[in-house]
Subunit: 344 residues, 2 copies
């Protein structure tokens, strides 16, 4: 694929600011990234939301009807709405008309649509959702997976997450020598619940995983790890907790900083600095979620995404296509004899 | 007990700022709270660290030799050092010379010493460590348990955590009508891993638990729940993550706020407001950990505790003694026929 242009199917109808912000991000990506965009959604709404509709000429419009709302149950809604934008986008990948999907819609629906339409990669028992978090080191992020697709995991699922996380970190997030950690409650290999103790040993023995040890809660955002694997229950709790803590801190700042006359004056002076702080703290402005292990590339942007996040998500999708991550994961499972998971 | 003065054994040697800050906190507690203090530690070091040794006359000194360092393995160290301050303090409770223990030392060692010396309460399968977190609502906290004592839990353990958490919230933390939540990845009763689904149903059916439903990661610090129960693996990850996030945010503030000339000037003007923000964000200044389910009252203050935290921990211990929480937990397990845990 390397030599051809990546073709990205963008779900124009997914997210709080769809279609306007999605379309803006997609138009910019087309202009700057050298990708082909297939914009999936309701053409009337897309045209109405585009200030300069002439820009749409560069994009291919693929009609779809409706979308899956955030409060809808994924599976039944996907079945009831076969022409929903996320279904149509996944079908484009299935029919090899596109190489990847980008959506800011319902992440559970996107995962379910990917599974129903594209299926799993060979060798992968359970796909995972990976979330990219900022760390305390500016410009360094950490990929955490699984953040919610699999709430009860066997050891080998986490081992597969680690293999896929390594490949995504290297080829999509651009980390040359990624370091992989296992979320746990202590540093020693004997620490943790049954699952963690068993996974620790498997990761140590797997040559495809540059495992550097356990990551405690306090290490997750330290910048020391490029990838942290965990089961989807813990990962989801952590993801939602992190988002809420970010918001909570910003609320405390808003409440306390302007207290008193000096507070008001000082806060005025600090406006640009506070904006930078908000950007660093606010998870919504960062990355997005990657679906790993489905037989297609899919990047799920945050529901509150505006054009820059959509642009960024398209960039991630392009990296994944250009660097052939799916083929690399497949190759891993053909050449490496995976250590058999005990208890299986 | 209600009419008599609570007798609190204070581990003078535990924590980063022991014995000086511990002694200062204990002296203040003696003066202000109407409690009797048994100060456990090395008398020479205690006297040397006390600016006005005359203040020690009001306290009873109980000699001990050594302490368990933060990097020591709890069980073997406790056995090797029978006269370590935490062992001596627990023994005072065992011999009914004290009603409660307060320590800022190694929390794992405190838990192990409590189990070895005092044992479990009748009806409690596994004691838990409860941590008090600040919430986004000023002056409202949330008790999270277990944060690390039990990494693999059966459903009935979490049910017992909920019963004990309810009693501690009401009688120690002073919440008249506590609301209890189960840490989970969705609101619906069907959501979660096997453990969460089963515990959800047990909590709904338990009349001793004012259960209001699942708490997602984003709800933990919302102030909506007074108690959140979870297994010790997830709880420990969350606790350490929360502490690190607090520090990370304060670091970002320190880095970004004073950028540029206006930034420096504005930051100067905001000094008192920033101090308040630090207090609200910094977990170390809050609560501490409660050991729930052991046959004695124990409050573990943060290792970095200074005198105000020690004072606060002694106040919590006094509340627990005055309100007879152990007797209340026991009563719960004598009068309520607990629903049998399936899978046992």
């Amino acid at each position: 694929m390397g030599a051809t242009r990546a073709r990205i199917a963008v779900d124009a109808m997914g997210g709080d600011h769809a279609p306007a912000e999605v379309v803006t991000g997609a138009i910019r990506a087309k202009a700057e990234l050298g990708v082909d965009i297939l914009l999936v959604g309701d053409p009337d709404q897309i045209y109405a939301a585009t200030p300069q509709p002439g820009n749409l000429d560069q994009l291919e419009l693929v009609p779809a009807e409706g979308t899956i709302a955030m409060d809808e149950e994924p599976l039944s809604s996907l079945r009831r709405k076969p022409k929903a934008s996320i279904n149509v986008a996944m079908d484009l990948v299935k029919r090899k008309r596109a190489d990847a999907v980008v959506s800011a819609g319902h992440s559970g629906a996107a995962m379910a649509a990917a599974l129903l339409r594209l299926g799993r990669l060979k060798g992968i028992d359970r796909p995972a959702i990976g979330a990219v978090f900022p760390t305390v080191i500016a410009d360094k992020s950490v990929l955490i997976l699984d953040v919610g697709a699999n709430v009860d995991c066997r050891p080998k699922f986490l081992e597969q997450f680690a293999v896929m996380g390594t490949i995504y970190s290297r080829y999509v997030l651009g980390v040359e020598q990624p370091t992989i950690g296992l979320l746990n409650i202590g540093e020693e290999s004997s620490k943790g619940n049954d699952l963690a103790v068993r996974v620790h040993q498997m990761l140590q023995e797997n040559p495809a995983v540059p495992f550097i040890g356990n990551a405690e809660g306090r290490d997750v955002l330290s910048g020391q790890f490029d990838v942290v694997v965990c089961d989807g229950f813990v990962g989801n709790v952590l993801l939602k907790f992190a988002e809420a803590v970010g918001e909570a801190v910003l609320n405390i700042l808003r409440e306390e900083l302007p207290q008193g006359l000096r507070g008001k004056a000082g806060t005025m002076m600090l406006k640009p600095n506070l904006r930078r702080i908000k950007q660093r703290v606010d998870h919504a402005e960062h990355g997005g979620a990657l679906l790993l292990g489905v037989a297609g590339i899919a990047v799920i942007s945050h529901g509150s995404s505006q054009a820059p996040s959509i642009f960024n998500a398209i960039r991630l999708a392009k990296e994944a296509v250009d660097h052939e991550v799916l083929q690399r994961i497949q190759a891993q499972y053909q050449k490496v004899a995976m250590p058999a998971a005990d208890g299986e």
